[in-house]
Subunit: 119 residues, 2 copies
């Protein structure tokens, strides 16, 4: 059982759209990622997904509009809701979701990362 | 589905050792609390508990020693592990844990808060 320094963990990688796992509890994962540019439309059939913004401003596009999430804010995207994250400038984000959640949801895509590293 | 501003939510209350629920997902709760002073020894039989420090430094006492968790750090206390939070100065904390988790664990105590408000 060790303390986990989120900023230090973020400093260990620089690639975008590639979440790392920094904690696990109750079948859920705490992940961090750096985002820049536009991601793909996707949904998670069975899993709600929490985005907590550590740095920057994330735009979350939905089929009926866009929500901006700024540093210190969070957004919970309910299961089944299609969404597309967009980061005009680099965004650092913490995610809280079930361990098995894939970041591209039901979609198998060249961006899909499997077997996420635990850092 | 609304963005949740954690600092704004924290500004809506000032009492200590009284968690509020600010989000729910996948049967888990996101809670925030202000801590000051010493809490009671307790454990959660079936639930791991995540502490993420938003402000200040929390000391977490275990039967075999103390860990300090500073702003931007998190600690996951595994189920069954006795712990006692101590905040020499006021600490603001975000908690991730199952919805049903009581902050005094298995212990029924005068400090136990039930039916936590959703704010």
């Amino acid at each position: 059982m060790n303390t986990i320094n989120v900023v230090q963990k973020l400093s260990t990688f620089s690639d975008h759209w590639h979440p790392r796992i920094i904690g696990e509890l109750n079948g859920q994962a705490v992940k961090i990622a750096k985002l820049k540019g536009e991601f793909i439309w996707h949904a998670h059939k069975d899993e709600d997904e929490l985005f907590y913004i550590l740095k920057g401003t994330l735009k979350m596009e939905f089929r009926d509009g866009i929500k901006e999430i700024s540093e210190g804010e969070m957004l919970i995207v309910p299961k089944g809701v299609e969404h597309r994250p967009i980061a005009d400038e680099e965004v650092h984000v913490m995610l809280f979701e079930p361990l098995e959640t894939k970041h591209t949801g039901e979609l198998e895509h060249e961006l899909t990362k499997k077997n996420l590293e635990r850092i």
